[in-house]
């Protein structure tokens, strides 16, 4: 093999490896914060590509998108530009689990993100495979990033590098006995970077995920399926958008089911599934099992739901949600055709599983910077997460923190009480997950506070401080906040006497009479009354925006629960705010149990809070650390 001559190319502040959902947010954040940023991709045609499901959001993922938006990210605005159906899931449940999900027109999603990327100041797109992470080792033994090299020998000096390689590192797509060595949808994979990362001292994992077949719309009998519509009153993902700005005609999805015949075909061919034959070594996610996994794990279920979702308006391809597989092609054909309505299905793209390399994310700080190499960040599926939204959430944080590192500022961390982003990143860097990590509302212990409806109230302040939220947007946000507080105050001050007219009105509203003077706020606590329904009793009311009313009502109605969680958060913050010095010597604490000491040395938690979440570290160990930290602190003070 001929040696490729190396040359030095343009220097950048920040280099981003990958232009998927993590890479885009990371590159945009860094560039918008004034850093000269270069974003590498194996193909500029696949910027923000959605290689699997055609939707953005969903339970808990919708929360992430809105949080990204509140911080000044792009995903929310981009899906608002490109959705073809939108739905608020869990509408009948509590506000904490309401989740927004939209079907995207995949092409429009990709194109409009590409447009943004290509037209952002300070941001340069580059189609090239990055083959090497470059760093220098200082006299103190600390490694520091110097830039990246591409396969063509170009060295791009950079002060910070963000890995956002998605599923592309040494990717292999598999179905049946067939393996192709490509990224998703036949895109080129990245074959060199893994070795370079290992050489730099990083520990890698091999994970697996999969996708179902895409079917030609014309071959499907939709008449035997249930139609699924979007909401009439849609809610935009982005806090910058109003409903009327983005309203459009929506496209339906369809529901059908597998049956015993489908399951029989799968069972008869399990030995040819690479998942079961051992041909796949990567660890797959439990939450997104292939249909063969489901049939094996839940033998009692006689049918599984299959949702048919359009991939966009530009194409006839239909995504079969719930039926990902890696069975051989002919088995796939038989299997899909056994499903009601798919008897004549023409498969445009086969289902396949994909294996890829990612890093063990416990090697990262909660800022997403690598502990071992200063200036090196990682975000998205390369951190072992799964999902577009999880990727974007990490991307924006990595982008912000890379920029801050370049600018000599301390990194930001969203903690578990501030957002799903915090839960996601804390879980990734603190808990050793051996499978792709997906967000779930049940992972958020302060879920009542972390609602999708108040993501702006939780995070706009941070986005503004960081510099991603414009003054104009910030002013609007402050006005909203003020309006909420003012209305809560007004409702608590406007009281109704127990007059005959008031009681009569209340009776007509289907609620109990009052016997003493009662504030409107008190009345709103009654589940049978709504803000609208008590309008008759509230003539002094001004017309307020819907989002303000929503906050007011939630705050009143769930006050007890919300207060309780706020108290828990207070307790949580106490440990979270106890920082552990980076060079803390765990060996000098004899009272720590051996297992705890090993784990603490391995993880080097940044705070007592993080330490307490490491498995193998007990409350007693935390007490010991607490005392020791206090001692160190005081000694420093006395010195």
């Amino acid at each position: 093999m001929t040696e490729i001559p190396e040359f030095t190319c343009d220097a950048y502040d920040v280099a981003v490896i990958g232009a998927g959902h993590a890479g885009c947010e990371a590159a945009l954040a860094a560039a918008r914060l004034g850093c000269e940023t270069i974003c590498f991709t194996v193909s500029t045609d696949t910027i923000a590509m959605m290689p699997c499901n055609p939707n953005i959001g969903g339970t808990s993922k919708g929360h992430l998108v809105r949080e990204v938006d509140a911080l000044g990210g792009e995903m929310g605005r981009n899906i608002d530009r490109s959705f073809i159906q939108s739905k608020m899931l869990n509408g009948s449940k509590g506000p904490a689990v309401h989740s927004l999900r939209a079907q995207a027109d995949k092409q429009r999603y990709t194109n409009s993100m590409r447009h943004i990327m290509e037209n952002t100041t300070h941001l340069t797109m580059k189609q090239a495979e990055v083959s090497e992470l470059c760093y220098e080792t200082g006299s103190d033994g600390v490694k520091k990033v110097t830039g990246v090299k591409t396969v063509s020998g170009a060295f791009y000096p950079a002060k910070a590098v963000i890995l956002a390689s998605g599923v592309y590192l040494n990717a292999r797509c598999i179905f049946g006995e067939v393996s192709t060595y490509t990224g998703p949808n036949g895109t080129p994979r990245a074959t060199h970077l893994t070795d370079s990362l290992i050489a730099a001292g990083l520990e890698m994992y091999r994970f697996k995920t999969g996708t179902p077949a895409r079917i030609d719309k014309r071959s499907i009998d939709f008449s035997v399926m249930e139609e699924q519509y979007g909401d009439e009153k849609i809610v935009p993902f982005s806090f910058t958008n109003k409903r009327e700005d983005i309203e459009r005609e929506q496209v339906p999805c369809y529901l059908t089911y597998t049956n015993e015949e489908t399951h029989k075909i799968i069972r008869a061919n399990l030995d040819r599934s690479p998942l079961f034959s051992g041909a796949i070594e990567g660890t797959g996610p439990r939450y997104c099992p292939s249909i063969e996994d489901k049939v094996v794990k839940f033998p009692d279920k006689d049918r599984h739901q299959i949702f048919l979702e359009p991939e966009g308006e530009y194409t006839n391809e239909i995504y079969l949600s719930g039926m990902s597989s890696s069975l051989p092609e002919e088995v796939q054909i038989a299997m899909y055709r056994s499903v009601r309505g798919l008897e004549n299905a023409k498969i445009v793209r086969n289902a396949y599983a994909i294996e890829y390399d990612c890093i063990n994310a416990t090697q990262l700080y909660p800022t997403l910077e690598c502990r071992k190499i200063r200036g090196f960040f990682s975000a998205g599926q390369s951190n072992g997460s799964s999902g577009y939204e999880e990727a974007a959430a990490q991307g924006i944080i990595a982008g912000i923190n890379a920029a801050r590192a370049v600018q000599g500022k301390e990194g930001i961390v969203i903690d578990r009480s501030q957002g799903y982003i915090g839960v996601l990143i804390d879980d990734l860097v603190t808990k050793e997950t051996h499978e792709p990590y997906r967000m779930m509302t049940s992972r958020a212990e302060y879920r009542l506070l972390l609602r999708q409806d108040n993501a702006d109230l939780r995070l706009t302040e941070i986005g503004h401080e960081v510099g991603l939220i414009s003054e104009e947007r910030y002013e609007k946000f402050l006005a909203k906040k003020e309006a909420i507080e003012a209305e809560l105050k007004r409702l608590s001050e406007v009281t109704l006497g127990a007059s005959a007219i008031v009681c009569e009105t209340l009776k007509n509203l289907g609620t109990a009479e009052i016997h003493t003077a009662t504030s409107l706020l008190e009345l709103l606590r009654r589940p049978e009354l709504s803000y609208e329904s008590i309008a008759v009793l509230d003539p002094g009311r001004k017309t307020l925006p819907e989002d303000v009313i929503e906050q007011v009502v939630i705050n009143i109605r769930y006050e007890g629960y919300i207060e309780r969680q706020k108290q828990q958060v207070e307790h949580f913050k106490k440990l979270e705010n106890r920082r552990i010095p980076e060079d803390f010597d765990y060996d000098a604490v004899p009272s720590l149990r051996i297992e705890a000491r090993q784990k603490l040395k391995q993880f080097r938690p940044v705070s007592l809070g993080q330490a307490s979440r490491i498995s193998g570290v007990s409350p007693a160990d935390i007490s010991v650390l607490l005392v020791m930290l206090q001692r160190t602190l005081r000694r420093d003070h006395e010195d």
């Binding site: 249909i291 599984h304 509302t441 005392v627 000694r635």
Partner: protein, 466 residues
């Protein structure tokens, strides 16, 4: 802000005085809920926080309507205290029972049981003790926790553990059902789930409250069955006590009313731990000193786990015997006919008929304390009464530590909140908050980390997919 903690500061022993220490921002407030001053029959509450700092006050500790003990209360405002926090110390009359009862009452009224070494830890954190003591403190904490864990693991063998695991498992399964439906609303529905949940939660609460009740049984096992010897003067109570103890502990004379106060001894009878309490004979008396003894005897009888009611076989039964049986309302009772070595004036049949009038079905035991006869039968009866079905039906399942009880109480309260949420029609995601609260409390009893349980359960129980 820190919470308020409490513990017995003196260690459990039969020392003359025990101290319960309360430390934290709510110390005075907690104490005010229990501390009463004034005459015993006209007690009134007082704001402990209004006392001058570092002053001692005489009064009583009450638990609801019950007066637990006569105490001296020490009020110390921060920061001139051991922990630098507001501190209240209650000096009570020693004795394991009383001390624990006071602690219980303190915990019920807003304090949390201190972790091992926690007072010292706070003292250290607040800069009260010097650096050289830090290592010692850490060792103490580490050792204390290990010990507590070991103890609780030891106590949790067998059916208590099984019982808690079973409830915990049910709860987790219900939460997983809710969470799976929240995570995949298009795949899983929660229709009809709430009404089913109400039944489950109600049953779980019953089991838990039974476990909480068993705390008293557990206490009897670990500390001894509080056994009070009761009877009118000179029926041979003290002789019986000496016989049981096998030593001359109580002063025995022929003069009625010799025992003027309460005598207490711990002993084992065929392996059964007893706290044996001899009392003054109960009768109408004009002697004020004797009267105090009589009142104490009645008080003891009220707190007894077991009453040994002694009658004199050589004398006829009198009004005083009736008075005694009327005053006994709680606890198990074994009637004893003593002095069977003398000429019998009250035979077994008369005695039995007399007992029936007070609805006491328990077969009397005939004893001669002087000759030492009947002792074997008596001890057999005690062991039968307590360890063959007379403790809570599940005699094996007993909880013995205050910490476990506290966790069970917490689980119970969480489940109560679930029921409230169900009653007020809250959406299901609110239910899982308190269900997980109960789950966490039960996990703490088992010393287990419950972090990833829910996620694992959702995946194993439900088929989630895209």
């Amino acid at each position: 802000m820190k919470d308020t903690i409490a513990a017995i500061a003196t260690g459990l022993s039969r020392a003359g005085i025990s101290i319960i220490r309360i430390s934290g921002p709510e110390a005075a407030a907690v104490a005010s809920r229990l501390f009463r001053v004034g005459k015993k029959d006209a007690l009134r509450p007082v704001d402990v926080g209004s006392f001058d700092s570092h002053t001692v006050h005489y009064g009583f500790i009450v638990d609801g309507a019950e007066v637990i003990d006569e105490v001296m209360l020490l009020y110390l405002k921060g920061p001139r205290t051991f922990t630098t926090e507001e501190t209240v110390e209650i000096d009570c009359h020693g004795g394991i029972l009383v001390t624990k009862k006071i602690l219980s009452a303190v915990l019920k009224n807003g304090a949390r049981l201190a972790e091992p070494g926690e007072f010292t830890k706070r003292a250290f954190e607040n800069g009260r003790i010097d650096l050289s003591q830090a290592e010692a403190v850490m060792d103490l904490i580490a050792a204390g926790n290990d010990l507590a864990l070991k103890n609780s693991v030891r106590q949790l063998r067998g059916s208590l553990r099984t019982r808690i695991l079973a409830i915990r498992d049910e709860i987790l399964s219900d939460v997983a059902t809710i969470e799976a439906a929240l995570d995949q609303p298009e795949y899983y529905s929660l229709e009809g789930f709430s009404s089913k949940l109400l039944d489950t939660v109600t049953a779980q609460q019953e089991t838990i409250s039974k476990l909480i009740r068993s705390f008293d049984d557990g206490r009897m096992l670990s500390e001894g069955i509080k056994t009070v010897i009761l009877g009118k003067p000179n029926v041979g109570k003290s002789s019986l006590m000496n016989l049981l103890l096998g030593e001359d502990r109580a002063i025995v004379t022929d003069i009625a009313g010799t025992t003027r106060d309460v005598l207490s001894e711990e002993m084992r009878l065929n392996g059964i731990p007893l706290i044996l309490i001899d009392t003054a004979g109960i009768h109408e008396t004009a002697d004020p000193v004797e009267q105090i003894g009589v009142n104490r005897a009645k008080g003891q009888a009220e707190e007894a786990d077991l009453i040994l009611y002694v009658a004199d076989a050589s004398e006829p039964l009198t009004d005083e015997d009736e008075m005694i049986l009327r005053s006994v309302t709680k606890g198990k009772i074994i009637p004893i006919r003593n002095k069977t070595d003398l000429t019998v004036r009250t035979d077994e049949e008369t005695f039995r008929a007399f007992l029936t009038r007070f609805s006491i079905a328990e077969e009397p035991v005939s004893v001669s304390a002087k000759e030492g006869s009947g002792l074997t039968e008596l001890s057999e009866r005690i062991s039968e009464l307590f360890f063959k079905g007379c403790l809570e039906a599940d005699d094996e399942i007993v909880i013995t530590s205050e910490r476990q009880k506290e966790c069970l109480n917490e689980a119970y309260e969480s489940l109560s909140r679930v029921r409230e949420s169900l009653a007020s029609g809250m959406p299901e995601d609110f239910l899982s908050i308190d269900l997980m609260g109960a789950y966490g409390a039960l996990s703490r009893i088992l010393g287990e980390d419950a972090d990833e349980d829910l996620i694992n359960r959702i995946f194993s129980q439900f088929c989630l997919g895209k």
